[in-house]
């Protein structure tokens, strides 16, 4: 019985810690997940380690896990605030972007300072679609460890502006049905109603069609609908606002 209650305690503690850590990551912002600065990476590592202690050690109060987590979050906000108000402080904590390739070639001194090899630069370049040094005008190692590349003008992709072509402004398709459920939060943005969706489905697919039969349905500002039913291939319909 003692073991059972220990297990139950661990389960409850794990749930509490999980919720707290999730909450902390949510208030720290989405940047945590993608582009981590050095201090954010340190914070994430420490949080991961701290969170496990009260989960497994029943003698340790949950508060002993939560208090350091809260302290780190406060510290994170203070650091982020200081980084925002002071460029010097930001450079001290996060470093500054370093040009590793310039028009003269690779800056080997900069690479040595960053403690990265030429192979690491090649790897990052390949990841961005550049396989030759000849294609790169500038390469900058960002503070979050990612490489940014400015390609030479002769290999940079041709844009509509280069070709002097007038194109309609880009529009974002908005998901209005996903896996049989109406995305109610997106309906206002898409300027459609649930009745519109049903009406559209009845007209285009069949009278007996229900929303739950739709795998995905998106609509953009120009009235272009992308529709795929649970069974069947995808279809697109133009100017549906007028049709409906």
């Amino acid at each position: 019985m003692a073991h059972t209650s220990d297990m139950l305690t661990i389960i409850i503690r794990s749930i509490i810690i999980y919720i707290v850590v999730l909450f902390l990551f949510r208030i720290m912002g989405k940047r945590q997940l993608g582009q981590m600065q050095p201090f954010e990476l340190v914070l994430t590592l420490i949080i991961a380690d701290l969170a496990t202690i009260p989960m497994a050690e029943i003698g340790v109060p949950v508060l002993h896990g939560i208090i350091p987590l809260f302290t780190l979050v406060v510290l994170h906000f203070v650091l982020t605030f200081l980084c925002r108000v002071s460029t010097k402080f930001s450079m001290l904590v996060s470093g500054k972007p370093v040009i590793v390739i310039n028009p003269k070639g690779i800056d080997y001194k900069a690479l040595k300072k960053l403690n990265i090899s030429i192979e690491d630069v090649f790897e990052a370049m390949r990841g961005l679609g550049y396989f030759s040094l000849d294609q790169v005008e500038y390469a900058i190692m960002e503070t979050n460890g990612k490489l940014s590349i400015l390609a030479k003008s002769n290999v940079s992709p041709v844009t509509n502006e280069n070709l002097k072509i007038d194109v309609a402004p880009a529009v974002i398709p908005i998901s209005i049905v996903s896996e049989g459920k109406v995305m109610k939060a997106n309906l206002q943005e898409a300027q459609v109603s649930e009745d519109f969706i049903l009406d559209f489905l009845h007209k285009k697919i069949g009278v007996k069609t229900k929303i739950k039969d739709v795998l995905v349905m998106t609509i953009d500002k120009n009235g272009l609908v992308y529709l795929q039913m649970m069974k069947g291939e995808s279809q697109t319909f133009e100017n549906v606002r007028e049709v409906a």
Binding site: I27, G29, I58, G59, V60, P61, L63, H64, I67, F70, T71, V73, V74, F77, F81
Partner: protein, 131 residues
């Protein structure tokens, strides 16, 4: 920074201060009560030739009861491993008292007093603890 984050940040900061104060108060009260109960037991034990005395037994029971209550409160705030020796020594006190083993009884009482005294330093935020 969104207003929600700002409010949450202040809330968390307030929570940290709250827990620090609560820990200090609860630990202070618990250890003071332990020291007072120990002093009472010690005084009675010095007055009696035979420690198998009803008054002394009641004082030890009070010491045990008060510590059990305070220990359960402290468990929310401090590592249980750090405070469990007090309970062990109090249990020993009761055994030595029933056996009229004065020497061991006093040794256990001294141990409890020592723990109560040392925890006061152990639990505070001083330079030794921080470093």
């Amino acid at each position: 920074m969104k207003i929600f984050s700002r409010i949450t940040l202040f809330f968390i900061f307030g929570l940290l201060i709250f827990f620090c104060v609560i820990e200090d108060v609860v630990a202070g009260v618990a250890l003071q009560a332990l020291q007072n109960d120990c002093a009472r037991v010690e005084q009675l034990s010095l007055e009696k030739d035979d420690i198998r005395d009803m008054e002394l037994a009641l004082a030890v029971d009070t010491l045990e009861y008060n510590w059990t209550v305070n220990e359960s409160n402290l468990c929310y705030l401090v590592n249980h491993k750090n405070i469990q020796e007090v309970g062990v020594e109090i249990s020993k006190l009761k055994v030595y008292q029933s056996e009229n083993d004065v020497k061991e009884f006093r040794a256990s009482l001294e141990a409890v007093k020592f723990y109560a005294h040392s925890y006061r330093h152990f639990m505070g935020a001083n330079l030794h603890n921080v470093i």
